[in-house]
Amino acid sequence: MAVMTLVEAINHTLHQEMERDGRVLVYGQDVARNGGVFRATDGLLDRFGAQRVVDTPLSEGVIIGTAVGLAAEGFVPVPEIQFLGFSWQAFHQIAGQLARLRYRSDGRFDCPVTVRAPFGGGVRTPELHSEALEAQLVQCPGLKVVLPGSAADAKGLLASAIRDPDPVMFLEPLKGYRLVKDDVPEGEHLVPLGKANTVQAGDDVVLIAWSAQVEVARRAADVLAAEHGLSARVLDLRTLVPLDIEAIVAAVEHTGRAVVVSEAPQSAGFAAEVVATICEEAFYSLEAPVARVGGFDVPYPVGMLEEHYVPDPARVVAAALRVCGEAG
């Protein structure tokens, strides 16, 4: 065990996976010479050389498109999109090609590609550096969508993603890169894709979240316990595809009340899918409507305004009190 920040855990895991498997390639904008704008790929160029660690031109479409060809020839590409908002430049290759290589070839080709990108906001970036696009990616069958919330999960999920035979969108909490810090097993550590994690036990209400919102939910749970005598369970979904429906249903059957926390715009965000899933699979366990706490139906705002846009513990607490029938 060693305490690492989330970005250190990513960097450490990339070193281990490139060491383990010579087919793993890391490339993207500023990943080699500069070690990535967040240092996630720092040191890889020196260690593994210019054949396996490559700075690409500024072309997201071809960064993803080449991964399709490299995968078909047996490599394991781990390209980086410098900020998730710029995955839109590559959306035709992500949704139409990367996600479908196996399907379009009727099973001929595996597609073991892991696309890394920072996810979400909270650090006053310029436009398009803080997007939360998980719902758009979940609407691309063929992709797996993974969002670690802790450094240990970042390692375990990234290693699993890289070894997975299918394309994974690996979305790293931008705000958590340096803020999130926890114990990370130094040796082999795999967290399976598709298993949610109960971050904290609790009986009155379950707070369901992913990525940076897990920490927001956890802090809300502390407040609920300390100030309102409510025992809140915190469930980190970790992966949206595959979705751990069982864990969601079990949690809701246990608490009867749920709040879903996410930072994307509310309408058609993934929180809606969680609510719909709960209503389909655990309707009769519900003692109150499920509440959503999330971004508003506006584009991610500029620095001066983001604090009012991104969910905070107070909003989660208020929603939890509402679903628990208290003065929310």
């Binding site: 072309s59 993803i64 498109g65 060809g69 078909a72 290759q93 595996d110 035979p165 979705l243």
Partner: protein, 367 residues
């Protein structure tokens, strides 16, 4: 080989055969007689397959079809210069009937594709052909990825990607061309300039003096070749391949040809095609052209053509009958989304199977 790609002016069109095929205007590629006859035979097969798939669509048995008529030399000539054991071919959607050199499985697989069968995307392992691509230009970055991989492995192969004059306007073409130049990867960018993108003429597609000229944006050679001259196609693609395998990097090849048929069986060229333009190309049929040359060499005649057509018809019919005989499970679309289905897909599939009564007699009750 006399052809120097570095010096090729992207405005002059490279030819080996005169337009009527009666004489050689440049040194022909070094090929055995059998090899040249094989090229001719493949062109004939493509033409025959073209007629069959067109007819099958009209009969409502096969899906929308994109005819290759007039462009056979571009594709057959190009692949004649490739090594099926080492080189990848990435088609757009018009080329598959002309890829016989990559094995009989190609036509069989394509027949399944035209039938709307999922296996139509699955060229068998070992066959270095990528699935038909409908999303224009999307296959171009894939070709770069394959070529990059070959280079990393030190394998002496190339990726030859076909795309149309229209597809050349997509960002994917330019982004891949630019990155290919930087990597010096062994990619042959084969732009099939057939004059039209559905109803959009060249003049509305680009103001560049040629498509080959676009290579200047990437820092590697661009060359124009007569796409109705099979021998010229072979020479140019062979030279580009040699250069790429030798580490010389990519080449952009513009094959100048013409689409003699409609865009697809759903298209009506009367709405946009000036009749005189098509008429101007009628005298330049690629099969007639190479045929005349081969006749001069005593390698071809009406009899052999008839025999080639007969053999082709038999092969196409067999491929189609096999395709029509190939069934598919109604829930097949769950099979190859992921290596392992997600829990939700398992539920969805079970529901579908129940509804369709695929799990025994008493299943499907109610829904």
């Amino acid at each position: 080989m006399s052809l120097d790609l570095e010096l090729a002016a992207p405005e002059t069109i490279y030819r080996v055969l005169s337009e009527d095929g009666s004489e050689l205007v440049a040194e022909p590629p070094a090929l055995t007689d059998d090899a040249v006859v094989a090229v001719m035979t493949e062109m004939v097969k493509a033409r025959v397959a073209n007629g069959r798939f067109f007819a099958l669509q009209r009969q409502g048995r096969a899906g929308t079809y994109a005819p290759i008529e007039g462009q056979e030399a571009t594709v057959v000539g190009a692949v004649a210069a490739l090594d099926p054991a080492r080189d990848w071919v990435l088609p757009q959607y018009r080329e598959p009937v002309a890829l016989g050199r990559y094995g009989p499985e190609v036509l069989r697989t394509y027949a399944l594709y035209q039938r709307g069968h999922p296996a139509g995307g699955h060229f068998p392992a070992g066959v270095r052909v990528f699935p038909v691509q409908i999303s224009l230009a999307a296959q171009i970055p894939h070709a770069l990825g394959l070529a990059w991989a070959l280079r990393l492995k030190g394998e002496p192969g190339v990726a030859c990607v076909f795309f149309g004059d229209g597809a050349s306007s997509e960002g994917d073409f330019y982004e891949a061309g630019n990155f290919a130049g930087v990597l010096g990867a062994p990619v042959l960018f084969l732009c099939v300039n057939n004059g039209w993108a559905i109803s959009t003429p060249l003049s509305a597609q680009t103001a560049a003096t040629s498509f080959a000229a676009k290579a200047a944006a990437f820092g590697f050679p661009g060359v124009r070749v007569d796409g109705n001259d099979a021998l010229a196609m072979i020479s140019v693609v062979a030279a580009a391949r040699e250069r790429a395998v030798g580490g010389g990097g990519p080449t952009l090849i513009e094959a100048v040809t013409f689409r003699m048929g409609p865009h697809t069986t759903a298209d009506d060229p009367k709405r946009y095609l000036p009749p005189e333009q098509r008429a101007g190309w009628e005298g330049r049929d690629p099969i007639t052209r190479l045929g005349r040359h081969l006749e001069g060499r005593g390698l071809w005649d009406g009899e052999r053509r008839a025999a080639a057509e007969e053999a082709a018809a038999a092969e196409v019919d067999a491929a189609w009958e096999a395709a029509e005989a190939t069934t598919v499970a109604p829930d097949h679309f769950f099979d190859h989304v992921y290596a392992e289905p997600t829990p939700r897909m398992v539920t969805q599939r079970a529901e579908l199977r129940r509804r369709l009564g695929l799990d025994g007699p008493d299943a499907g009750a109610g829904s």
